[in-house]
Amino acid sequence: MSDERDPASTSGSRSPLVDASVAAVILEVVDFSKSFGPVRAVRSLSLDVRVGEVHAICGHNGAGKSTLVKALVGLVRPDEGVIRFDGQEISLRNPHDAQAHGIALVNQELSLVPELSVEDNIFLGGLDVPLVYRRRRLSEHARSVLDQLGLRHVQLGTSVESLSIGERQLVEIARLLVRDARLLILDEPTATLSKPEIERVFKATRDLVAQGRSVIFVSHRLDEVFELCDRVTVLRDGQRVATHEIHEIDRRTLIEHMLGEMEGARAMVDHEHAVPGSGETVVRIDRLTVPGSVEDVSLTLESGIITGLAGQVGSGTSTILRALGGLVPNASGTVEVRGKKVLLNTPRRASAAGLLYLPNDRQREGLFLGQSVERNLTVTRLRRLSRLGVLLRRRIQRAARELATMAGVSLDRLGSPAASLSGGNQQKVLLGRALQLEGTALLALDEPTRGVDVGGRADIHNLVRDAARQGTAVVFSSTELDEVLDLADVVVTIFHGRIVSIVPRAEASASAILADMTTSHASSTEASS
């Protein structure tokens, strides 16, 4: 995989009608600032988007991308700054206002109502939808948009519940197309899509831009940015770092902008990796299958070895880990822990077998946000810290202090509610509760550094390595190639619920892994360098 992009290659989607130097501006953001409590998400951010362009916004987690997007669609009000749309200053108090101005958003967190039909969802909340809305004209419009996106096989009357994630994403985009928006914001829209589906989205985007509309494309999949976009703005730590025409920049510079030079260097430090085959087999998974997401997965997890499941969102990596955590009751197949077969249909059984799972949605499913950090850290070991059902207060406090220190969470936050911590610290608290827990055979970490900045990520990776060194088997899932390469001793690539390859880190190449993660097995041979 080459790091440089041929500057002369034709990329971007600019409409031939628009000349870059005299382009009209559809959106202007001036000195936008927003804080959430003590956290300053965005600081004095200014940027503009031209009519008829696809403008990429890149930045690592925590850079401020999602805050910017939320402000543009009225989900968040700026503390400071001005937003100008089509030359006029506007105030976006809610999604309704945004829609009225012609701004529309598609993001990873789908806003479809599963109980309603496809057609109902397409027209949900649309301003122009008439009172009596089940009309032939509208249905025809919806049908043609769905066909355009390749969803010919999806009936208008099907309820969204029965669609796959990829199909749902496309329905959400269909809603956008039907709304006649002038500025479309696509926030990581391709994470759950297969290659052909991504192509369709790109084509639809190019068609829109040819009509004179504008698109903001938020993504960290740089290949797509280079393929689709005309300009790119890089955000870092809540500020705009650079804006370039796409043909003026190359991939390495882009990454450097995103990471900052020092950080970039730090992230590239090579770590020693353990070699598989030397430890005892702690967990053996045989033919794990979950209808609809995972097919025939067999893995061997050794003590002291960190196994990384590399796959995109929706590829099944998360489901595999959840199954190990007892959260997938309809999983079939066998799992042996230290030679003994175990039943994993409830979290309690998984925990009793020594399998400790940490969810990827730490706010919704991981932490108890309103409870203190101490309570969060000790939730998994209350039995050990109590006698005859009565809590041993002093031991609990001591354990909490030890865990906090190990995880790198400041001790004076122990009494504060977990909600008051930053994303990175919250993730550390979540991880902390899994450390040094007697009887743990396996740690299953679902996206252990999601939403954490580079510094925090390095800290968490060190924690995981420490845990492995003490003999625990570790398996984690990640959608980020760099994380997999940095942390895993063994790389397992997953695509569409199946294992594509299992490679020890020493023999793994970045391009092969990326190829395995993003394409089907048949074409992976072409992509390997």
Binding site: R348, R364, F368, G370, E374, V379, L382, V390, G415
Partner: protein, 323 residues
């Protein structure tokens, strides 16, 4: 140095918050009492004070039991009034086998009634409000059926139960029971693994599941305790009225819920305490008493109680966004 600070810091904020809320409540109670004393005749007398405490006790015992359900995130139970009435009826009826047997059997019945509801909610995810509405209907039907529509009175040859209604050192026995069981439950919720896990469950049910907490057991426990406490109150009510029928249901259900809410417990669970509910029960009893002395009718009392509930719910849950 940092370890000392840490030791002080741990749970300081949570403890502080709880104390603050309680302090605010006591302050309001004080203000109300003073106002009441100044403007209402007959309010600031010993006998009136006793009346308030007695009324607060019957509701209070039920309310503190109910609080465990509230803290566990299961909203509340609408079956407690019926449970109390049935318990009173069962108690008086089983007195024929002696006081000890009567108390034991009644409490056991309460526990089982609650545990069954808790199981449906915990293991099967059934909606707690609806389950308890249905259970209430079932209990009413059963009560009338088994009693042939008549009130239950205690057996004539057994008088040991009278002790339960009698004053001890001037205060009616129910008041002592209220204090004792409140303290016991407060300690359980603060100091035991069960209590801690209930708070966590109420805070975030999904996370509790992922963290392998014993959700079914906890829910059975919560509903079981609530029902057990209600049965206890039913025993005292029966002993005090010497007569039991479904008429006893009265407004206990709503009064207990009001006490828990007015005390400042978050209806969505995870925040609050037994002490707050006790304060809420006393507060409501005080207000009701004052209204009664000032000649407010039944309607007026219900109305004021309703307004207080709405106001407190708005204030307390202002920060707890639900969706």
């Amino acid at each position: 140095m940092s370890s000392v600070m840490a030791r002080v810091g741990i749970e300081r904020r949570l403890l502080g918050l709880a104390d603050l809320a309680l302090a605010v409540w006591l302050a309001i109670l004080a203000v109300v009492t003073v106002y009441g004393a100044a403007t209402t005749t007959g309010f600031l007398t010993v006998s009136n004070g006793k009346a308030i405490l007695t009324a607060a006790s019957f509701v209070g015992i039920i309310a503190v039991g109910l609080t465990v359900i509230v803290l566990s995130g299961n909203l509340f139970s609408l079956a407690l009034g019926q449970t109390a009435a049935i318990s009173a009826m069962v108690f008086l009826w089983t007195l024929q086998w002696g006081l000890a047997a009567a108390i034991l059997l009644t409490l056991l019945l309460g526990l089982v009634i609650g545990a069954v509801q808790g199981f449906a909610v915990g293991a099967w995810g059934a909606n707690p409000i609806i389950v308890t509405i249905g259970a209430a209907g079932l209990m009413e039907g059963m009560a009338v059926w088994l009693s042939h529509g008549q009130s239950i009175i205690p057996p004539s040859n057994e008088t040991s139960w009278e002790r339960l209604g009698q004053p001890v050192f001037g205060l009616p026995a129910p008041v002592y029971v209220f204090i004792v069981v409140t303290v016991i439950l407060a300690v359980v919720m603060r100091r035991t693994r069960f209590g801690r896990q209930i708070y966590l469950l109420g805070e975030n049910r999904v996370a509790a599941r992922a963290a392998a907490l014993p959700i079914t057991l906890l829910t059975v426990g919560a509903f079981g305790i609530a029902s057990l406490y209600t049965a206890g109150s039913g025993i005292l009510i029966g002993a005090t009225s010497a007569n039991a029928s479904l008429l006893l249901v009265g407004s206990y259900t709503y009064d207990a819920i009001a006490a828990a809410l007015v005390g400042g417990n978050a209806v969505t669970g995870g925040r609050g305490s037994i002490a707050r509910t006790a304060a809420g029960a006393i507060f409501i009893a005080t207000i009701s008493d004052m209204l009664l002395l000032r000649g407010y009718s039944t309607g007026g009392q219900i109305l004021v109680r309703g307004i207080i509930v709405v106001v407190v719910v708005v204030l307390t849950n202002l920060r707890e966004r639900t969706r």
